[in-house]
Symmetry: C2
Subunit: 336 residues, 2 copies
């Protein structure tokens, strides 16, 4: 099983030192590479709290500072992007990183990019569907002929540079929408499931739907790869981990209250979600390794687990967690 | 005077090892930084011969590997880009590089991007003019209200992240079109003049037009900065430089024959352009320093000279030239 870290490049308190924040993020990616973590993902947002509106620049900078780690999006908001530009960006990152680029594409969980780039939210699903089609065509063909509703047509257009990987990995990032699982299955795309709260095993029927749809569409079990993205954090002990993570996490959730009606959980509610079956993967290295294995079994076997820990913890706290994940959680998973 | 190197990320013979080509380009940028060169620029093209369709990923990777050098485009083809994305990309590079990002924007000398991104060449100048306006608005305002013909309107849209430089430098890259010099003057933008052939001093009236227009528009002499971009290459002696550069340069020009009707110059014709007043800045460090000073005087004083040497020379040849420029040409210019 591969282990990854995802970050939304959170802008720190007061937004005063965003250059420092980005440079520290790059340090953490370099550290993740050094301690043997398999993948690092950068999100894509269009708001003051996150510095990842141009995620491919962050990934490219990371590519120049790392040797082995895969560099991916988490997720590429394809609906409001041009699939030609997306492919060119990731293809160039693939060249810079010597074959370590991946795309996780999804509809995104925020809608800020729609008014910014002039799209209509009424077309939410149709836009994504069409753009995903074009992205896959760009991946599989050097010369493209295509036409659609939401992007000018391409007639005998060549798209360069080509990546070094024969087939640049393109995952579909999904939340809880059944149709998204079906879409991934029909296309035979690797599936990245974001389980942000609740209990992870409850996603088993949806993952099963993905595998069933994929097999019916003619894809092999080996092609139908499943990854899991959840909040997570590792410290020496469970108590230390929760003491550090919970207050920051609660602040993030509370700040979404006005916009989304989310209510911050009490510490007790949080601990329930951090419990045996809960989605939050937090604790000592042992506990976290056990939990990832439990989640994997519940979902019929996962190929990658991604930690999202960037809720406002300090650089030092996140570095310590990344070290524990690389040096303790990864070997524990490999030994089982 | 600042000295820069511009590259179009040429894909090497046979296009077989583009990953190596990009990684060597990044090595040359790191070397340029180490030897004290002031700026490195990456072009933007949409064809097999060049690997720079996603130039901001290359610049971001360079930002992660350098300390002092300014990182710029050469040029950003703004007409077929979204000024919001362009600003977000360069603003993120500014954070990654701790304030070293610049944009040189222009109409571009190739037209491949028009059919690729669905624009009509009939609107060539109108598109550029409108998009430049929006790019400057994005630079100068965090919240943008704007509408135009070639991009969806922005209503109270916030554009993040903000760069660390208070005013991200935006130059106007121009060729030989008088109206472009006037445009730069009216807007008070720094001017980057590409003189690709012929004699550099013949551009003096156009540069004078820029300064006059700029002063009439209320900008000070200090704000009306002029840079010069030309083919150039430095070796130990003039003969060695021309022996290495001429055959590759002639190949590049000849390969444009079918498309643009360019005819490769004979060695004699080349040497004439490499002569005292010619545009090609080639020779020993002494000769090149003298020539840059001559060109600067002919144009009423320039603030930056950029070498374009990426015509198919080997990595070793270009590294040697970059070293000579940093260690010999730059000190010679500083001592005059």
């Amino acid at each position: 099983m591969e282990i990854g870290i995802d970050s939304f490049a959170a802008s720190p308190n007061g937004f005063e030192d965003n250059a420092k924040a980005i440079q520290e993020l790059l340090e953490r990616i370099a550290l993740a590479d050094q301690v043997g973590i398999d993948a690092f993902g950068i999100g894509e947002h269009y708001r003051k709290e996150f510095l990842d509106s141009a995620p491919t620049t962050i990934l490219a900078a990371a590519a120049a500072r790392t040797k082995n780690i895969k560099l991916t999006s988490a997720v590429t908001v394809l609906s409001t992007s041009d699939p030609v530009r997306v492919f060119q960006n990731f293809s160039t990152i693939d060249l810079i990183s010597n074959g370590r680029a991946e795309i996780v594409t999804g509809r995104g969980s925020f809608t800020d990019s729609f008014p910014l780039f002039g799209y209509n939210l009424n077309d939410y699903d149709a836009i994504f569907s069409e753009k995903l089609e074009l992205l896959l065509i760009n991946r599989d063909n050097e010369i493209v002929n295509w036409s659609g509703l939401f992007r000018p047509p391409l007639r005998e257009q060549a798209i360069y540079p080509r990546p070094i990987q024969k087939k640049l990995p393109i995952w579909l990032g999904v939340g809880g929408t059944a149709a998204s699982f079906t879409r991934a299955g029909k296309l035979g795309l690797p599936l990245m499931v974001a389980v942000i709260g609740g209990q992870t095993h409850k996603f088993a029927p949806l993952v099963e739907l993905y595998r069933k749809t994929g097999e019916e569409a003619g894809f092999s079990h080996e092609e139908l790869i499943v990854g899991l993205h959840s909040f997570g954090y590792v410290a020496n002990t469970r108590e230390e981990a929760i003491d550090a993570f919970y207050p920051r996490y609660a602040e993030v959730i509370a700040s979404m209250n006005k916009e989304r009606g989310w209510v911050a959980p009490s510490r007790e509610q949080f601990e329930a979600q951090a419990d045996e079956k809960g989605a939050i993967v937090i604790g000592s290295p042992d506990e976290v390794a056990e939990k990832i294995i439990r989640h994997s079994k519940a979902l019929g076997g996962i190929s990658r687990f991604n930690f999202q820990m960037d809720v406002g913890l300090s650089h030092e706290q996140m570095k310590k967690s990344i070290e524990l994940i690389g040096k303790e959680v990864v070997p524990l998973l490999n030994s089982k």
